[in-house]
């Protein structure tokens, strides 16, 4: 896989100080250079997907706090001008209302694309998502559903976001049958996966790695394309250990793989992409080959989605495992402000865990 890094000037929301913090996020991430298209950053790729979604379906709507001005991260720039304010509009500041409204809109056969400004602010809408959206189809015996609903929300660290602009709440939603949870790792992935989510007949929570909005740049095909949900992808082949992650964490993990390789350890890196329902078969096949598994995510380790992957793989691959499954995750603390560098599952932590798993 051709992967090259180079520095990239502009940064997200002010600048990011990266003392004591070694990951690759400060570098620009370029993946999949084959295939052509225009070079785009992640927020522009999302923007393109939204343009296409609105263009191809007259019953698609985009709404949320400040979205008609482009949104905090510029993902919805130009949409209101292009499609008019009856299809792209600002809502008042009330997440519960945004999601409830989206469920109603979707229940009448529309595609409701709702934005929650930060994943940290999704909790006022938690009841609507968990009890209304996720169970609508089941409890109505398939008379009603809100499959046209897609909830987009930026998640994860940005270097200095503090308690309420940095959290990774994906595991809460992975505990809810009836929902899908999808997280892209790059611009090309973001565009294809978001279009799939919007068109998928199930309600979906789509978390966007906000750290990569500007930092991650790659060639993105300009046409309308979709990437399959619930299909993971091996983004780096290897034979000694399998690493599983999603979103922004993959670039950190990829760095660790590169360093491990210098020490003669061959790592296989898998991007899960869809967290529920997830691609167990691909992870299982990889672990059966390597005999070792490491999972990494930014959310706190306890009760994180890594725990679910670990349990499932132990069930399926018990006799093939050469070492306990390793998890390198956020710590069991609230997301800290000044201590962010200590909290994060950094490249060095991953590298150490790779080595101790190999030497177990």
């Amino acid at each position: 896989m051709a992967t090259s890094f180079r520095r990239f000037g502009r940064r997200l929301v002010g600048s990011i100080s990266r003392n004591n913090f070694s990951t690759s996020c400060e570098k620009q991430l370029i993946q999949q250079q084959d295939g052509g298209g225009k070079s785009l950053n992640l927020y522009s790729a999302i923007n393109q997907a939204l343009h296409i979604a609105l263009e191809t379906d007259p019953r698609a709507y985009v709404f949320g706090e400040d979205v008609s001005f482009g949104g905090v991260f510029r993902c919805t720039t130009g949409l209101a001008d292009r499609f008019g304010k009856s299809r792209v509009f600002n809502t008042p500041l009330c997440e519960q209302g945004i999601v409830g409204f989206g469920i109603g809109l979707a229940a009448m056969g529309n595609r409701a694309i709702a934005e929650i400004q930060f994943a940290d602010y999704i909790f006022p809408a938690f009841d609507q998502i968990v009890n209304e959206a996720a169970k609508f189809r089941y409890r109505s015996g398939n008379q009603f559903n809100c499959g046209g609903l897609t909830i987009r929300a930026p998640y994860g660290a940005v270097g200095h976001g503090g308690h309420y602009h940095s959290q990774s709440p994906e595991a809460f939603f992975c505990h809810v049958p009836g929902l899908k949870v999808v997280i892209p790792r790059s611009p090309r992935q973001a565009k294809g996966l978001l279009l799939s989510c919007i068109r998928d007949p199930n309600p979906i929570v789509f978390f966007e790695p906000k750290w990569l909005y500007r930092l991650s740049i790659e060639e993105v095909p300009e046409d309308d394309y979709m990437l399959p949900l619930s299909e993971a992808e091996v983004i780096r082949e290897g034979s000694d250990i399998t690493l599983v992650g999603w979103g922004a964490q993959l670039s950190v993990m990829e760095d660790a793989c590169i360093d491990a390789e210098k020490e003669g350890i061959s790592c296989e890196l898998i991007d899960l992409k869809t967290l529920i329902p997830w691609d167990k078969e691909m992870v299982e096949a990889s672990v059966k080959k390597t005999g070792r598994l490491l999972i990494s995510h930014e959310a706190p380790i306890t009760g994180g989605f890594g725990a679910e992957i670990s349990a499932s793989i132990v069930e399926r691959c018990f006799l093939r495992l050469e070492a306990p499954v390793a998890r390198v995750c956020g710590l069991d603390t609230p997301f800290p402000l000044v201590f962010e560098p200590f909290y994060m599952p950094t490249k060095n932590k991953i590298l150490d865990a790779i080595k101790s798993t190999i030497n177990y």
């Binding site: 400040d66 008042p92 500041l93 009330c94 940290d120 308690h163 309420y164 800290p336 798993t357």
Partner: protein
């Protein structure tokens, strides 16, 4: 006023603030004249389901001068926070209060530190009004040990228990039911105290507000809901988000008053009135018509969704500090030069506090941080794990491999 008593607010900080306090004390005392003075509010109060308080506000020269000084200090502090942010010494998200100072100052003049105050993330000046110190503020902003939350919170998370300031809350609207819960406890304690729960015009559209209003009214809680209407929630003008931007009326069965939030005396008058009302009759909404000069947060230039003319118009016609300056001059309570001197003084106070917050020598374990050149002590790394649970609940830290290196934390 608490702000003028900088030196006595915390014994631990007294020494640290020596230079600040001396410079302050050296100056000839600000007017101590307490002869009553009656001043008319800028505009009448508008009421909903209740009588309005009188427009004639009792004050004194001393109070007016303290309003001037306190607001000038707040203004200066916010401008300094802006520079620190731009110099990358403040991390995290940072929301400034300049323009809205009269709300914090007027409210404090009407209530005591036994009353509770709770607000959202735009909390620097509310904290200062509750008697917090500049050193605590700048240290917290810069994530230093001497901060009011030990450097663990940052701009949006200021608290002051001894003055019943229940803090800065980052989730829009979440502080309102919490504040009503404080009022609920106050009803039991029967000590004639109330809670002021502040929220913005954007927050006024959150469902939580209405849930809290109903409960507070049902149980006659001594809750005063203060809507600081600065007319924008981030980039959204009030009329884009609210069917009725008459926030003082939106409690329906809950009485409300609309107030010129740029007039510290009007704010004082209405807060006094509201406290009495709440103790007797239960909740009341105060809509403070105010304005924020800065953008929403540091990443918002504040000029894309409103015109520069609008901002400069408010500055010229309604500025809360200028209003008090004019009153002082019109009543001949101080000279123009004396007011300028006060402004110089507060500027120095702010500069000194920043220097202290940055000073690497003022803390016993400053040595550890020498390598950070220029920067003052950060909290100990182990602080990352404290206060998650009560001590002794067996929180563990894991080493990089998550198995071999493991320790139980305090």
């Amino acid at each position: 006023m608490a702000l003028s008593k900088l030196s006595s607010s915390s014994s631990r900080l007294t020494n640290l603030l020596k230079p600040v306090t001396t410079s302050f004390l050296l100056h000839r005392p600000i007017s101590t004249d307490t002869t009553p003075l009656t001043i008319e509010t800028s505009v009448p109060f508008i009421s909903h389901q209740c009588d309005a308080p009188s427009r004639s506000v009792e004050t004194t020269p001393k109070e007016l001068l303290s309003f001037f000084r306190d607001m000038a200090l707040m203004r200066r502090m916010e401008i300094a926070a802006d520079s620190l942010y731009k110099a990358k010494l403040v991390r995290g998200f940072c929301h400034l209060y300049d323009g809205q100072e009269a709300v914090a100052v007027g409210m404090e003049a009407a209530i005591t530190k036994k009353d509770c105050v709770i607000t959202a993330y735009r909390d620097h000046c509310t904290f200062l009004g509750r008697g917090g110190t500049l050193l605590e503020i700048f240290s917290e902003l810069m994530g230093r040990k001497d901060g009011c939350s030990n450097g663990k919170g940052g701009s949006m998370h200021f608290y002051k228990k001894d003055a019943n300031f229940y803090g800065g809350h980052g989730i829009v609207g979440a502080q309102i039911p919490l504040g009503c819960g404080l009022a609920f406890a106050q009803k039991y304690s029967k000590d004639e105290t109330v809670t002021f729960a502040l929220y913005g015009d954007g927050a006024a559209n959150q469902g939580q507000l209405f849930e809290a209003l109903n409960i507070s009214a049902l149980w006659d809680l001594p809750a005063i809901l203060v809507c600081e209407n600065n007319h924008y929630g981030m980039g959204t003008a009030e009329w884009r988000a609210a069917k009725s931007p008459a926030y003082y009326k939106r409690g329906d069965y809950v009485p409300g008053l609309k107030v010129d939030g740029m007039d510290a005396l009007a704010v004082k008058q209405v807060c006094k009135f509201a406290k009495e009302h709440a103790l007797k009759n239960g909740p009341i909404i105060l809509e403070m018509d105010t304005y924020r000069y800065h953008g929403h947060s540091m990443s918002d230039p504040g000029s894309t969704y409103r015109t520069r003319d609008e901002i400069s118009g408010v500055r010229q016609e309604r500025d809360p500090i200028e209003r008090v300056r004019k009153l002082i001059l019109a009543h001949d309570l101080a000279t123009e030069k004396e007011l300028k001197d006060i402004e110089k003084e507060v500027r120095k106070e702010v500069d000194d506090a920043i220097a202290k917050a940055k000073d690497i020598f003022h803390s016993p374990d400053a040595v550890i941080c020498f390598s950070y050149s220029q920067e003052s002590p950060m909290p100990e790394p182990s602080e990352l794990f404290t206060n998650v649970y009560v001590k002794g609940y067996g929180v563990e830290a894991f080493g990089a491999d998550r198995k071999e290196v493991r320790g139980v934390l305090p």
